[in-house]
Symmetry: C2
DNA sequence: GTTAGCACTCTCGGCCATAGAGTGCTAATC
DNA sequence: GATTAGCACTCTATGGCCGAGAGTGCTAAC
């Protein structure tokens, strides 16, 4: 058990702690009060605001117990209590009553998606925007990409100035483009200059040979091809490889200013590290193993995060898409003092929604 | 003259003010000191640090004159002087000695671009990253887009699950994609289901009919087409129209945390408005008329900006690409207390560089 | 087990005094 | 006539001090 806690500290780490009825309700009240006010909460305030039917003194002793258990902490001797990361954890695991999105919210979100044309980038932007708005946190959405990019279809377009564009549609429906090196092409054309006909021929060849192959598989077949086709195939292989670098791609964020507004980050420089991490491409990769384990929404609270710069924030993330196919991540980032009961269902709903959108326009694995 | 100043307050507004030699060097010194230290600069400090060969008293009287002219200001009676927006303006226009990028910097930047494969999104990202790093400000880069999107080439791809993707290459080389509505297609196929052959035929038709046409022109020809082709043409027209909404598209930013670090924005909430504006799509559109007027780099200092939220920041922006063809913007955003002598040449250099990259892989206007 | 009472602790805001930086003015100097 | 030294003055920033208030922990009574 101990090892398990160590290995995956941010999943059900606090399960074993048994609390009395009273302790539970006090912890819940402290968390909810603190999330709302951002002010350390004292015993008197607590009974006043939550209509607990006991005296402040009783609450105090309960608080002392919770502090001993490491669920609350004390900024200083004569201040109120603040939940610890572990306190939030327990709250999220067993104390919280999720505030599910009501029907109208769901419909409104759905409606917004239906308004947007069916281009996936717009979906992502919209998802980030909705997440940010309805959780008042920073939202992060990555495109759904195959862990292993596969060839779908290519097109070679010649343009007036003799530039050539290679447009590659991946098996998962994403589109990549790259310009072909002109000098290289000149070298390959032994006799006549290369025309659109030649390009069409190459495209047709590759489109029969390559569908559904991964980068190394494409590479392996290059040797069989004529010089021009071989060159294009090489370029395609490179493009596939680049796509393999999951989520190094674009990360769509929104609502960073929401977080900036939170008192814990009022002194902006505190957020600096977080922003830098967010910009770095590899940040989600580090979390990927955790986030894709099991189903559904994952909550990573403060120090549970393996990334140092993120010790003062919580993440609520969910994967969407299909593990073997296109897999994306989406979620929110905010202070540990986060409205979990609201944010978690929202993330969950958006993940299922994106799932739907992805799979209804789903690209099969056996093309042609 | 007066009207002209009003109409374009951020271009050479301060030209007419004549300063004595001494006033000039004092203003220059104040600006440069303040940019460096972010502390209001007093007369003693100034002579010490800049080795002026006069006494503090002399400097004081010069400062008083400059303040009378509205070039400096006083946070309070017994504090040092701070440049006003107008002071910065004069500095930028005539006092500043530009710190041109030296050869090695230029080569390093060029090298980084050569490392990146020729996909334009990566260029933009890289440009933003370089700008942010070498000016320590927030960088903003928009893709170069035609003011008027024109048809280049389309490809229709059928995938295993019968999804159809329409990939549109614009005349300026940008690529757009959209999924075709399946239900609609079913309705259009009177007898047999639509296969790749049919799609190819449609694509071929449009590719001979439409090249270099704008959205309305495409629309006008729809009536001549068979139902399926007409539907696709309609979709294409929509895609062209969407592309016409300049820069509503993606804006690549980087280095926001640099700005967050500046003392004037240490209390993060001050930056909030700026961030919100930055996220909004229309912010550059408002500036577009100004930024494309004349050649080269444009500097917009504090209150010169027509956008209220940006009264406390300076922008240094330049267009790149070609006015009639693909036009993009790039630049930096930082506090008015900005290292102009460094930032301006950097923006200029990156604009010319992007220009080169765009035009060497340039797409002609008369396709086919 | 719960609660009232009480002494104790700690922060926060206001107040004051002081130090220091900087100014503006005037009169002397080059 | 420009420059400078000297000086009185102003304002901020800093630190110490005090009292109010919030909150705790403990103990004894219920």
């Amino acid at each position: 058990m101990a090892e398990e806690q160590k290995a995956q500290p941010h999943t059900r780490g606090a399960r074993r702690i048994e609390l009395t009825e009273r302790q539970q309700s006090v912890l819940r009240a402290v968390v909810e009060d603190y999330v709302l006010t951002a002010v350390p909460v004292g015993s008197k305030m607590l009974v006043d605001r939550h209509g607990l039917r006991v005296s402040p003194a009783t609450v105090r002793s309960a608080m002392a117990e919770l502090e001993f258990l490491g669920l609350l902490s004390h900024p200083h001797t004569s201040a109120g209590r603040v939940p610890s990361d572990l306190g939030y954890r327990l709250y999220v695991e067993s104390l919280m009553r999720e505030a599910a999105l009501d029907r109208t919210d769901q419909l409104m979100i759905r409606h917004q998606f239906s308004q947007v044309q069916l281009t996936s980038n717009e979906w992502l932007r919209l998802a980030a925007s909705i997440l940010a708005a309805s959780t008042s946190s920073a939202a992060v959405v990555t495109p759904a990409r195959s862990r292993r990019a596969r060839y779908g279809h290519i097109q070679l377009v010649e343009l007036a100035d003799r530039s050539r564009l290679c447009v590659l549609v991946l098996a998962d429906g994403n589109v990549e483009q790259r310009r072909l090196d002109r000098a290289m092409l000149e070298r390959l054309s032994t006799d006549a200059p290369i025309g659109q006909d030649d390009l069409d021929l190459v495209a047709a060849t590759l489109n029969t040979e390559m569908p559904n192959l991964s980068a190394p598989q494409v590479r392996r077949r290059i040797s069989r091809l004529a010089p021009l086709a071989a060159h294009v195939a090489e370029v395609v292989a490179q493009m596939l490889e680049e796509s393999d670098e999951v989520s190094v791609e674009e990360i769509f964020t929104d609502g960073i200013s929401n977080v900036l507004e939170q008192p814990e980050f009022a002194h902006g420089s505190k957020l600096r590290g977080v922003l830098d991490v967010l910009r770095r491409s590899d940040f989600l990769e580090q979390l990927l193993p955790v986030l894709t384990r099991g189903e559904g929404v994952h909550v990573i609270i403060g120090h549970e995060n393996t990334i140092d710069a993120m010790h003062e924030v919580s993440l609520i993330f969910a994967p969407y898409g299909e593990p073997d196919h296109a897999l994306g991540l989406l979620g929110v980032l905010g202070p540990t003092r986060m409205p979990y009961p609201r944010a978690i269902p929202t993330v969950r709903y958006l993940a299922t929604l994106m799932n739907e959108l992805i799979t209804t326009t789903h690209y099969g694995e056996t093309h042609d």
